[in-house]
Amino acid sequence: MDAHVAQLQMQYRNYILSLYQQGFLDDQFTELKSLQDDGSPDFVAEVLSLFFDDCVKLVGNMARALDQTGTVDFCQVGANVHQLKGSSSSVGAKRVKGLCINFKELCEAKNYEGCVRCLQQVDIEYKTLKAKLQDMFNLEKQIVQAGGIVPQVDIN
């Protein structure tokens, strides 16, 4: 049992490290995790689910705004991008935030093709992140079920 837990923990640790190394997450995510304590045990999960809901909503808005035949309201798109950027930086979604920065520039340049492409990338990216974090949560659950405690991963 201990070996299994240890192995799971090792797996978890490596997974988390890989997420950081691949640039999916940054220090803000660490901060977020540090806020989770006995007072709010599901803090991270709540924040993340809120974030992904936000993503869905904002991406939908942007898709609709860009789908408009006739003149595209780049200001509206820009506002949505701004929101998404804020959200992603708050949770530490590094790649999404990076894409948002590019997206914002494209909006200001009123580059329609670029915006459409960027939106697609954002879509892919947040979904990927969602999947990865889901895996992470699953691992956590497994560890807890196996009787172990979720290890604190030190990035440095």
Partner: protein
């Protein structure tokens, strides 16, 4: 009875002819006498001015009466009556009276008339004189005009050749000269060389020794001097016999050095250089040099001198400017090269820093690990050597890197509070093993007034002390080593501009390390602190070290606003290393490790602190709330400006507002909140959460009355610090 007549009876009838002539003459006389006044009157009336009217009348009367007399005489030739005689007598009497009166009058008048004549003569003379003077003035004015024109021409250019050429041309024109030449002194100053002439296009290279009497004569005075046309300076052309050479005048032209250019005062120095200007009148013209022409020449010569000086000054300044530009370019290139070199070195160091340290650490770590395992003695020895060598190498790398950073000035001291007494003891513990092996007793003396807890760079201070004490141990073969630490109040050993004054929160620590070892030649002392320099003896060479230690220590000491020096009485007499550094006195009796701030803010208890968070972004809102809840605050969240205004109350001590959504609306909220609470003493603190903290954003926040700016995303520690600072100091503008 016959009347007695008094008239004379004619004596003889033969005199009838005579009578007849008398008669006729009398008649004509009368006529003339009558006509003269008429003529007079006529002409006087014609002329405008005749001052003596009265005289005229008198004279007229006189003449008329004379005429009348002679007329009446006509009647007396024949027998005439008494009335005629009476009339005759009356006329004669009257005539007599008038004539006498006239005669008397004339005595007065004739001198007057004569004097009028003299006055007239006098005035004529005067007029002639004035005419002459007018002529003179006109000539002078002409001359002046010529001079002005010449000067203008000469001074209109700053080119030396043009100046001289123009001078000659203009002079030639103004004075109608045949030839005009300029002789300049050669470089040696012994000869005059014909430099410019008016008529001849290419003057022959013609020189004349400068010591000729005629030249000396001309140079001796500032006036234009007439010289003989046969003198060497004037003989410019081959002379054909039939010419009668025109008069020649020569004048000196001072060549001024730049330094003695004084406007009104030409100092008469014998070392002055002069040029000679020779002017020749046309031959066969019998023209003479007039005074005003000579004056003109003198004035022109002076002007030329001035113009030449100006030209020289200009040349000089142009040359200087060109030189400066060249130097500038060279300096620029040198600077750029230096910058490139520095950049190259920094790049190299950056690479070295990372790339080389990593394998280094690997080697050291693994060697240490290897030491822990089972090894044969030979293997152990080998591993120890590897370890020692790699430690040395690591130290060397660190030293070199430190030194470069120190020299760049990019090294900053890491200040912290630490225990000074403990530091010394640690250093000694580190050195003791080596000292014991070398049988060198070390003693430590800490002054009783040495503060225990101080503020400074602990690591680097240790490095300095370690280096100095290490050197003492290294270079001593016998004797003892003493380390003394004290607080220094005044210093009579350091350079005079280094005043050591213990201020309230700082003091100067002095450390003296005395050894009785090899000692140092006083001549070598200055070299000690230079990089990579070592003293020669083999013994020292074998103990290793790169020679960087003292140089680095000196840099650190200087960074700590201190001074370091070594005293030694000579080889074999030991030496003392002394250094002073500035340290801060800490108020803490425990190590708190908070840098720089003397009054450490305690962790403010945030429990129950009411905070309002306004953020349109749900995720950010949740994260910020989570942060604050973690710190123990009671958090209310709102998602719009209006809601914020509605909900905010005086119970909320701090309001965090997200201001990074585009639009200035957010800042207006700050104003409205301020308006709401102006009457309260306990003002709500407002802080902005924003995506960028550049200067315009900060200034905007300040202008809207916000107490602080925070960069999103906020970390827990930052939030904690911000809150405590806000509550303590009421204002925070953090550069994050």
């Amino acid at each position: 009875m016959m009347e007695v007549c008094n008239c004379i009876e004619p004596q003889w009838p033969a005199d009838e002819l005579l009578m007849k002539y008398q008669y006729i003459s009398d008649f004509f006389i009368a006529v003339a006498y009558f006509s003269i006044p008429l003529e007079l009157i006529y002409f006087v009336k014609k002329s405008a001015v005749f001052p003596y009217r009265w005289v005229l009348v008198q004279f007229g009367a006189f003449i008329v009466l004379c005429g009348a007399t002679h007329l009446i005489n006509l009647w007396t030739f024949t027998t005439h009556s008494r009335t005629v005689a009476l009339v005759m007598t009356t006329a004669k009497v009257l005539t007599a009276v008038v004539s006498c009166a006239t005669a008397l009058m004339l005595v007065h008048i004739i001198p007057d008339l004569l004097s009028v004549k003299t006055r007239e003569l006098f005035l004529k003379n005067k007029a002639a004189e004035l005419d002459r003077e007018m002529g003179l003035i006109r000539t002078q004015e002409e001359t002046g005009r010529h001079v002005r024109m010449l000067t203008h021409e000469i001074r209109s250019t700053l080119d030396r050749h043009t100046i001289l050429k123009t001078t000659l041309v203009e002079l030639g024109r103004t004075l109608a000269l045949e030839e005009c030449a300029l002789w300049m002194p050669t470089r040696t100053g012994l000869e005059l060389q014909l430099s410019y002439t008016l008529r001849q296009q290419h003057p022959v290279e013609y020189t004349v020794p400068i010591q000729l009497p005629v030249i000396n004569q001309v140079f001796g005075t500032s006036r234009a001097v007439k010289i003989s046309p046969n003198s060497p300076v004037a003989r410019l052309r081959p002379v054909s016999g039939k010419y009668l050479l025109g008069e020649v005048v020569a004048v000196r032209v001072p060549l001024l050095h730049l330094s003695n250019f004084q406007i009104n005062d030409w100092p008469e120095l014998s070392t002055k250089r002069y040029a000679l200007m020779v002017l020749m009148l046309p031959s066969d013209s019998a023209r003479q040099w007039h005074v005003h022409e000579l004056e003109l020449v003198e004035v022109v010569a002076d002007q030329v001198a001035v113009a030449l000086s100006h030209a020289a000054i200009l040349e000089e300044s142009m040359r200087a400017r060109d030189l400066l530009m060249e130097q500038n370019v060279a300096l620029d290139i040198a600077r750029r090269e230096a910058e490139t070199a520095i950049r190259a070195r920094n790049d190299f160091l950056a690479v070295m820093n990372h790339e080389m340290r990593t394998p280094m650490h690997a080697i050291i770590a693994l060697s240490s690990l290897l030491q822990e395992t089972e090894l044969t003695p030979e293997q152990r020895l080998m591993v120890e050597t590897v370890l020692k060598s790699s430690s040395l190498l690591a130290t060397l790398m660190n030293d070199v890197l430190d030194l470069s950073r120190l020299e760049d000035g990019s090294l900053q001291l890491e200040l912290g509070t630490f225990n000074l007494h403990t530091l010394f003891r640690e250093v000694l513990n580190l050195i003791k093993p080596i000292a014991v092996i070398k049988k060198l007793p070390i003693t430590l003396n800490l002054a009783p007034d040495l503060p225990e807890f101080v503020v400074g760079d602990e690591k680097r201070l240790m490095q300095i002390i370690l280096n100095i004490v290490g050197n003492a141990v290294k270079f001593s073969k016998q004797g003892s080593i003493s380390v003394t630490a004290l607080v220094t109040k005044s210093d009579n050993r350091a350079p005079p501009d280094f005043f050591v004054v213990p201020t309230g929160s700082h003091f100067y620590l002095r450390v003296k390390v005395k050894d009785l070892g090899a000692g140092i030649n006083p001549q070598d002392i200055p070299k000690l602190f230079t990089k990579f320099a070592q003293t020669q003896s083999l013994a020292t060479r074998s103990s290793g070290g790169s020679g960087l230690g003292l140089a680095i220590s000196k840099r650190f000491v200087n960074l700590m606003e201190g001074n370091i020096w070594i005293e030694s009485e000579g080889v074999g007499k030991g030496c003392t290393a002394i250094f002073d550094v500035k340290l801060g006195i800490s108020n803490e009796s425990k190590q708190s490790g908070i840098p720089k701030v003397p009054a450490n803010p305690q962790h403010v208890n945030f429990a129950g602190l009411k905070v309002l968070v306004m953020d349109e972004n749900g995720v950010s809102r949740m994260v910020t709330k989570g942060l604050l809840v973690h710190l123990g605050c009671e958090v209310t969240t709102v998602s719009s400006n209006e809601e914020c205004l509605r909900v905010v109350s005086h119970e909320h001590r701090v309001v965090f507002m997200d201001v990074c959504t585009p639009g200035a609306e957010n800042y207006q909220i700050a104003l409205r909140i301020h308006e709401k609470f102006t009457k309260r003493h306990q003002m709500t603190l407002l802080a902005a959460l924003t995506g960028n903290t550049d200067k315009p954003t900060k200034e905007k926040c300040m202008s809207f009355g916000l107490d602080g700016v925070l960069l999103k995303p906020v970390s827990l520690d930052n939030m904690r610090n911000v809150l405590s600072d806000l509550l303590e100091h009421r204002v925070l503008y953090e550069a994050m």
